[in-house]
């Protein structure tokens, strides 16, 4: 849908777009951090409605996509054990590990279940005291509080057969890593709205100041994204670099204090590998020592599983905004949602899947539409 009359409020959309067109005088590269925003941008053709000067670079904010291969392999190993009921969100089922995915583990007899909420997994543990119930706890700051509360409840209620395989990631260290990269082209960020609903905006002024980049908290609906882009372009054109909140209806400056307090109690900050990108210091959470008894990695002794990422998938470059999905030689040929080489083609929030679903018929045939090497 790249026609403005298909927006919920076409007149408002038109006004926002007119303002952006009137403001912009030269090229700017903005990164939307969140995979939900990427999905929305491609689905609604927002990037094609914007002036040519405004480029949207799709960031690493799809939690399914950045979960390292090694963690997927740990999940597959745990899920294969006969005593285990392995619970996960649906998006993780088809993410390829080494040679197989959770879907196949279930086909081979593993008890893999899809849950809507981590609390569903805790209920399954309560109802199956003779089984080991493991929940696959991945996600950004939005998903971490639900998972933290679930582990907290398990401990409080003495549900000892419940554990969690934790691979949480945090946005601010990723912004820092992107801005510190020598190939970085990003000049401003649309920060992820629901991450800020939890965390507030307190982590961002220091980043905006240090890297001299505007950071605008932005929602997920088409009009929200246009408003986020509008405010960002204004700052860029004026030479400003402040933190602004364009999603005030869902984001308060302090975030959700109760959720933040629970995160501090249940998790501790750790270095985390991001699939296709590598280790980013302090970019993850793991269970704190107090909750170690509920740590599935520890309980099932899978800490030592180490997996090297395959070379053919270039999702790491896509996740860093160095390569657009259709510029990868495997896009749409070797790599499709049915036969994904990497997680960016699996998750609906992955940039490759979004391009495949909504744009592949509009793209020029052949592997590269333009030069695929990163432009510094």
């Amino acid at each position: 849908m790249k026609y403005i009359d298909e927006f919920q409020d076409p007149e408002l959309a038109r006004r926002l777009l007119d303002d952006i067109h009137a403001t912009v005088t030269r090229p700017w590269a903005l990164m939307e951090v969140c995979g939900g925003q990427t999905h929305s941008i491609i689905r609604h053709g927002i990037d094609q409605l914007l002036p040519d000067e405004v480029e949207l670079i799709h960031g690493p904010g799809c939690p399914v996509c950045v979960t390292p291969l090694e963690v997927i392999d740990k999940a597959l190993e745990i899920a294969s054990r006969p005593e285990v009921i392995f619970c996960s969100f649906g998006d993780m089922l088809r993410v390829p590990g080494t040679g197989r995915d959770l879907f196949q583990v279930r086909g081979e007899g593993g008890d893999v279940r899809v849950v809507y909420s981590p609390l569903d997994a805790l209920r399954i543990a309560r109802e199956n005291p003779d089984r080991e119930v493991v929940f696959f706890g991945i996600g950004f700051e939005t998903t971490a509080p639900p998972n933290a509360m679930t582990v907290h409840q398990a401990r409080k209620q003495g549900i000892r057969n419940f554990s969690m395989l934790v691979s949480h990631v945090r946005v601010p260290p990723a912004i820092e890593a992107i801005m510190s990269s020598p190939t970085c082209r990003v000049q401003a960020f649309l920060a992820a709205g629901h991450v800020c609903s939890v965390m507030g905006v307190g982590e961002y002024p220091e980043l905006a100041e240090r890297f001299r980049v505007p950071i605008v908290v932005t929602g997920f609906e088409p009009l929200d994204i246009l408003e986020g882009v509008r405010r960002t372009v204004r700052q860029l054109e004026r030479g400003e670099h402040t933190v602004d909140n364009a999603y005030a209806r869902a984001v308060r400056a302090e975030g959700n204090p109760a959720a933040r307090a629970m995160l501090e109690d249940v998790f501790e900050v750790t270095d985390r590998a991001w699939r296709g990108i590598g280790v980013i210091p302090d970019s993850g959470w793991r269970l704190s020592a107090k909750y170690r008894d509920h740590d599935a990695e520890h309980r099932f002794s899978v800490e030592d599983i180490r997996t090297r990422e395959p070379a053919e998938c270039r999702s790491g470059e896509v996740l860093q905004g160095l390569l657009k999905p259709h510029e990868c030689a495997a896009f749409g040929t070797l790599c499709t949602p049915r036969t994904p080489l990497g997680a960016t083609m699996v998750s609906s929030e992955g940039a490759c899947a979004a391009y495949y679903l909504y744009r592949r018929l509009d793209l020029p045939a052949g592997p590269t539409a333009r030069e695929a090497t990163p432009v510094v």
Binding site: P118, L119, A258, P337
Partner: protein, 100 residues
């Protein structure tokens, strides 16, 4: 999986020492934990992510978002049968009973 959907609180009860609510998402009703928004009241709206209310939302914007999500089929994606959806995307049969 990062989708957070606005919902309206239908009723509230304590269960296992946890504040839980029944929440309506444009027709789909789910159990939601209110521990992070303990003062949320019946009739109010909140943004809900994987069964947890994370932030209050005013009624008008909540309704607009729900309308948009319904139109785009996103409520089905969020609350539908994940096994069937994954199987359809993979072009494979669902193994075992669906949505177990």
């Amino acid at each position: 999986m990062c989708l957070a959907v606005p919902g309206r609180v239908l009723d509230i009860e304590e269960r296992d020492g946890t504040r839980m609510a029944t929440v309506d998402f444009g027709g789909v009703v789910k159990e939601v934990c209110l521990e992070y928004l303990p003062d949320l009241q019946v009739g109010e709206y909140a943004i809900v992510h994987v069964g947890f209310a994370l932030q209050r939302l005013d009624e008008e914007s909540a309704k607009q978002t729900l309308e948009l999500f319904a139109e785009l089929g996103m409520l089905q994606e969020e609350f539908g049968d994940a096994w069937e959806m994954a199987a359809a995307e993979a072009g494979r049969d669902v193994v075992g009973e669906a949505g177990k």
